[in-house]
């Protein structure tokens, strides 16, 4: 079965963070705090969402004077629809080892 795009737990966690405040612009660091994703995971995901047209990005002034401009992100209209659809998808639960063992035992009986 082909994998749904943006259906990994990390992607869903990121989309959930965006959906918490769908109209707001988010900093990378605030997204990292909300999702517990490290920058090395977060930014490739943001890059992918933007290339899919699901994310808008802009540069904004830093809160601290003298610091470089920060990148801000929010879901585009298509992104909002995709995120809401992704939330409605049934989550594919990974079967636990115990459940797999029980299934194997059941097959043997």
């Amino acid at each position: 079965m082909p994998r749904q795009p943006n259906s990994s737990p990390q992607s869903l966690s990121l989309l959930r963070a965006f959906l918490a405040e769908p109209q707001a612009w988010h900093y990378g660091y605030s997204l990292s705090l909300a999702t517990h994703l490290k920058s090395g995971t977060l930014y490739p995901m943001l890059m992918r969402l933007q290339s899919q047209g699901l994310l808008e990005a802009r540069w904004g002034e830093s809160d601290t004077p003298g610091r470089p401009q920060r990148h801000l992100y929010r879901l585009s209209r298509a992104g909002l629809a995709a995120a809401r659809a992704a939330m409605l998808q049934p989550q594919r639960a990974r079967p636990s080892r115990t459940r797999l063992k029980l299934r194997e035992q059941g097959a043997m009986e």
Binding site: S32, S39, T41, Y43, P44, P68
Partner: protein
């Protein structure tokens, strides 16, 4: 100390951004800008380290851009190697490798050094696997076309740049 670290991070990010295209530099700048606002030094460094997988991804994407051209360049390399290994003269193959590299670099100027390597490294590969030409090979002799092809890739890119400038001016 923090100031020194900031300068060091700026330098590292600047050096990294040179290896990727202008359209992708914004992502590295975004990581750097966030790391600059983090109060904890360790956290700032860890955040900045996240640029490494991002950079690897951007480099790979760039390396495999123009994907259909890669087999074409390798095919050109095979033709060049076949000519070199079947001729007693060296100039026909040398001329071919230069022409192929210049043409590919003119048509696809992004990271044109890829075409130079793809065209010229087929011959050493063939020689290393035991295929011998009609002339005696010194060790590393078959690599002599690589620097010439790299130079020619530069020429191809320069010609493309000039051609584009003339087109936009006209």
């Amino acid at each position: 100390m923090r100031r020194l670290e900031e300068r060091l991070l700026d330098t590292l990010f600047f050096a990294a951004s040179l290896s990727i295209g202008a359209e992708d530099r914004g992502w590295l700048d975004a990581v750097r800008a966030e790391s600059a606002v983090l109060p904890e030094r360790r956290e700032a460094w860890l955040w900045a380290a996240g640029a490494l997988p991002l950079l690897a991804r951007l480099l790979l994407r760039r390396l495999f851009s123009d994907l259909p051209v890669i087999p074409v360049a390798i095919a050109a390399g095979v033709i060049m190697a076949a000519v070199d290994l079947s001729s007693t003269e060296r100039w026909p193959a040398a001329l071919l490798s230069l022409a192929f590299t210049a043409a590919l670099s003119f048509a696809y100027p992004r990271w044109a050094w890829r075409w130079a390597f793809a065209v010229t490294l087929v011959l050493p590969l063939a020689v290393d696997t035991g295929i011998e030409g009609p002339y005696a090979n010194e060790p590393f002799d078959s690599y002599y076309k690589v620097p010439q092809a790299l130079l020619m890739a530069g020429v191809g890119v320069w010609l493309r740049f000039r051609w584009q400038r003339r087109r936009t001016a006209g």
